[in-house]
């Protein structure tokens, strides 16, 4: 099993803590003069998503987590699992609801997502930053109202509900930022 010394700590490094894969967000080396040195790190548990502070004695070794981010194409949902494929190798992975989490509201078949694998198993799914989705349900558009800045809810083909400008019609395709859930523009 590969290990990292605290000397190699830096943000982005994936380590195993109490059996869970974690990513280091911040690392600070502290050493009182002539005293014991420590690494204080902020880490995110990749399974639970929780952020914690943790202190290590410097020069300790920590197991690395075999975690890899891979771009995969979303294929389909079979009622229980979401299926993804690595485009180059056609290798397929199935992820359950816990792994897909909020990403499922943005997943459209054929779209490329980032799937984080841990020991070859999907751990997290991140949708593309921007997706183009069709509106399946919204109040009728108010023609020409591009100035008042009013908004209304609109349901997208994937199930997500976003706020859109009043002039947008049902059946239109819009561009959405999945990190904020905000409407970006109309797609012609």
């Amino acid at each position: 099993m590969a290990t990292y010394s605290t000397n190699e700590f830096k943000s982005g490094l994936k380590i195993l803590l109490d059996g869970d894969p974690c990513v280091i967000l911040e690392n600070e080396f502290v050493k009182p003069g002539k005293g014991q040195a420590f690494n204080r790190v902020r880490i995110r548990n990749l399974k639970s998503g929780r952020v914690n502070e943790k202190t290590f004695k410097s020069n300790e070794s920590v197991e690395s987590a075999d975690v890899m981010d891979t771009d995969m194409q979303y294929l389909y949902y079979d009622g229980e699992f979401w299926h993804f494929m690595v485009p180059d190798t056609f290798e397929q992975h199935a992820a359950d609801a816990k792994v897909v989490a909020e990403a499922k509201d943005w997943l459209k078949e054929q779209d490329l997502c980032q799937v984080t694998l841990w020991n070859g198993q999907p751990l997290l799914v991140a949708p593309p930053n921007f997706v183009e989705l069709k509106i399946v349900e919204t109040d009728p558009g108010i023609r020409g109202d591009t100035a008042t800045g009013g908004q209304k809810p609109a349901k997208l083909e994937t199930g997500a509900v976003v706020r859109v400008p009043l002039f947008i019609e049902e059946g239109e395709v819009i561009r959405v930022d999945t990190r904020t859930g905000a409407y970006v523009s109309r797609v012609k």
């Binding site: 000397n7 600070e28 080396f29 502290v30 050493k31 009182p32 003069g33 002539k34 005293g35 014991q36 040195a37 420590f38 204080r40 914690n52 502070e53 943790k54 202190t55 290590f56 004695k57 410097s58 020069n59 300790e60």
Partner: protein, 331 residues
């Protein structure tokens, strides 16, 4: 095969520090030299490479080795030992700006190679030397950045005020509880290492609580943290050691120096025994220092000040890389 320019492309050859900061460094060096010159201290130069090395548990000396041969020696972590040999030889008050090396120290406030300003005053005690450190800061500061009066707190007062426990009596459990209450997790394997628990509390509870603009001396350390300081008998006995904090960092460390050769040898041996127990490298102790002390080291106080950190404070830099032309990673 000749090195093609293409293979060097994208390498960060440029200095990390701005030219403005490098000019500030040069001015600070001139003022430093003027300060010690005006006070009659002798500027000395001592070797960086030695057959002996520091035995401190928490200092890692780097090794110098011939490319295809045996070890030549050790790079010093501070110029303390040879400077004390000069004191024993009757040099009187001395100072030096030394480039020193400490392995495995790298971070926002650490670079493995750095500049240490170290000076010794014969016949002085810790209190008098703290006064002079304050005067030095006033003399070299650009004016205004460093308040003129420093605060002085004993180690015990500082811990009672900011960590919520008495560092001379609290057990590791009480220290651990105080750390966790302040949101600092206890590292695995700290166990019953009381000295290391105090180090963590100093770095995470006390140091961040001090006003970064106010020079603050913490003095009278527990005997477990004496290093090379004299221990003043009492209840409890305290090490006549001080540390200066400024800009949220430890800036200087000073001692009323231990002069007893036998006690010095005992401390070296104790360090090496502790290293053996932990499976750490046991560097050769400096027997020439012990010999010099046996000949007679005059009573003196000495201090080492992180020169790069002083530049950081004067330049308003938050990372040590901003004050080094070429920090580790660009060399």
């Amino acid at each position: 095969m000749p090195t093609s320019p293409a293979s060097s492309k994208g390498l960060d050859w440029r200095p990390a520090a701005s030219l403005e900061v490098l000019r500030l460094r040069a001015r600070l060096l001139q003022r430093t030299r003027a300060f010690f010159d005006a006070r009659g201290l002798l500027e000395v130069e001592t070797p960086q490479l030695s057959t002996a090395a520091a035995t401190d548990l928490h200092l890692e000396s780097l090794v110098a080795q011939r490319p295809a041969g045996p070890r030549l020696g050790w790079l010093h972590t501070s110029p303390e030992f040879p400077m004390k040999r000069l004191l024993a030889a009757g040099a009187g008050d001395i100072w030096q700006l030394a480039r020193v090396f400490r392995g495995a120290e790298s971070g926002r406030r650490h670079n493995p190679e750095f500049s240490l300003l170290e000076w010794y005053r014969v016949g002085w005690n810790a209190g008098a030397l703290m006064d002079e450190v304050e005067e030095f800061l006033q003399a070299v500061g650009n004016g205004g950045e460093i308040p003129s009066s420093a605060r002085r707190l004993s180690y015990r007062e500082a811990f009672l005020a900011y960590a919520g426990f008495d560092p001379f009596t609290a057990d590791t459990y009480a220290i651990g509880r105080a750390l966790v209450e302040h949101g600092v997790s206890m590292p695995d394997g700290l166990g019953d290492d009381r000295a290391a628990c105090l180090d963590l509390a100093l770095a995470t509870l006390v140091e961040p609580a001090l006003d970064p603009r106010q020079p603050t001396f913490i003095h009278d350390f527990p005997a477990s943290h004496a290093a090379l300081a004299r221990i003043r008998p009492g209840d409890p006995p305290v090490a006549e050691r001080f540390e200066l904090f400024l800009g949220g960092m430890e800036l200087a460390n000073g001692f009323h120096e231990l002069t007893d050769a036998a006690e010095q040898a005992i401390r070296f041996e104790a360090d090496l025994a502790a290293r053996r127990e932990l499976g750490l490298v046991e560097p050769p102790m400096d027997r020439r220092l012990v010999a010099a002390m046996a000949h007679g080291l005059p009573g003196c106080a000495g201090v080492a000040l992180g020169f790069d950190r002083l530049v950081m404070i004067l330049a308003g830099a938050s990372h040590i890389d901003e004050v080094l032309a070429f920090p580790w990673g660009r060399c």
